[in-house]
Amino acid sequence: MVSDGFALLAELLAVIEDPRLADRQLVARCVAGDMSAERALYDAHVDRIYRLMFRMAGEQELAEDFTQETFIRAFNRLEQYRGDSALGTWLHAIAVSVALNGLRKVKRIRVRTEPIEDSPRLAVQPKGLTADLKAKLHTAVSALSEKLRPVFVMHDVEGYTHEEIAGVLGIPVGTSKARLFDARAKLRLALAAFAGDHIA
């Protein structure tokens, strides 16, 4: 009993010293065919990934498809996970790739992502900070490029840090910051008339 306690303590200390140890252990169990480990992996990450997929896709059906595809790919490639990054980062990298590829293929998403300047509704200038402003802003976010939108959504909408975004997208932290700056600049430009009218 005492030795079991020490073993548990040693395991906990090892995980504290190397946070990715738990990830590697979980992955090893999955690779060995342990279904409860697969489920544990899924449970640990599905909420955050689904949220991001929904933010990116804007539709439940697509968000579900992208999330499912992410985990299917992840489970099929688990042997390739070496623990160089956190498991969550590795999964998110797959997820963002799945979402971007998927969105390219989905026609109805292209409609949603039509350039903001092409939208005739922008000529309308509603008064006050209303739902209309939000609607226009959301359209503008959807119209951001493939490089800018994931960074904006992850940082400003979902609250990821630049370090996390850099890890997921495989870009330097500085690039993540620069893309966020560009995204905000485009959104400011797109909404300038509306906001100016509101402030005035």
């Binding site: 489920r39 933010r55 990116m56 999330t67 976010v141 400003d156 905000r184």
Partner: protein, 257 residues
């Protein structure tokens, strides 16, 4: 309005950008499992291999009989169900008979049967034999009916095992996995030609509901009498066990055959 103020406005206004609702965990998990087992099932073998010709159907019929009898016999030996009246009696033996939970090895074996069935369904869905010209649509129908029978046998075994463990106040993690596997197969069958038969369609819908409830309950790992009561009500209200047994002819065989 300067850039900082504009940024603040942007951030405030985008907090509900594509706001997600509740995460459909179980539904996605079931589909992930179905897809993965489907790929595994179709991964091996020669590409020119004929799938589900009539001869394979006959062999499968034998397998169904063997699987059904094996499941029934094994549960009978452990006292989970009554051997002589299995087709008409309630699924769960009375409390005072001292019914036992199937041992882990048996549950594993039964889950193995479930996975085999899931692979066969996935294979059929992905590559119907009639599509390749290897066989006729009739042979596909037979193949679907056979896997449906296997699925019914597995579902009955899982629900019976679940009720027994629940009666003892236990929540068996193996049943959590087992039920999710069965849910995946149920969903695949719900999207298959099996549902052209209205009886089978209703049975699958009933099974879907009950298995989802069991999967959700067992995944929590906590004993909850209220949730158990709801599951039991669903099983009884929809007559799930009766329907399962009346659809499974092999279980009506007298003991010893």
């Amino acid at each position: 309005m300067n850039d900082d103020e504009m940024d603040e406005l942007l951030i405030q206004s985008t907090r509900d950008y594509n706001e997600p609702g509740a995460v459909p965990r179980e539904a996605m998990w079931a589909r992930i499992q179905s897809e993965r087992h489907g790929h595994r099932g179709s991964g091996g073998g020669s590409p020119n291999r004929t799938r589900w010709p009539w001869i394979a159907g006959a062999l499968a019929a034998g397998l169904v009989l063997a699987a059904g009898i094996a499941i029934g016999r094994r549960l009978e030996r452990t006292g989970v169900s009554n051997p002589s009246r299995v087709a008409v009696t309630p699924a769960v033996a009375p409390r005072d008979t001292g019914a036992k939970q199937p041992p882990d090895s048996m549950v594993k074996e039964l889950r193995g049967e479930t996975r085999n069935t899931q692979q066969r369904v996935a294979q059929l869905v992905k590559e119907p034999s009639s599509a390749s010209g290897a066989a006729t649509p009739e042979s596909d129908n037979l193949a679907y009916r056979l896997v449906m029978l296997r699925h019914i046998a597995g579902s009955e075994a899982m629900i019976t095992a679940f009720r027994e463990s629940a009666r003892r106040g236990e929540v068996d993690a193996q049943i959590a996995d087992w039920s999710r596997e069965l849910l995946g197969t149920t969903r695949m069958l719900e999207a298959s030609p099996v549902t052209q038969d209205p009886v089978m369609k209703r049975l699958l819908e009933d099974l879907d509901l009950v298995i989802v409830q069991i999967a959700q309950y067992t995944t929590t790992g906590k004993h909850n009498p209220d949730d158990l009561d709801l599951i039991e009500q669903s099983i009884k209200k929809r007559g799930v066990m009766t329907k399962l047994r009346s659809t499974l002819p092999v279980r009506t065989l007298p003991a010893g055959t």
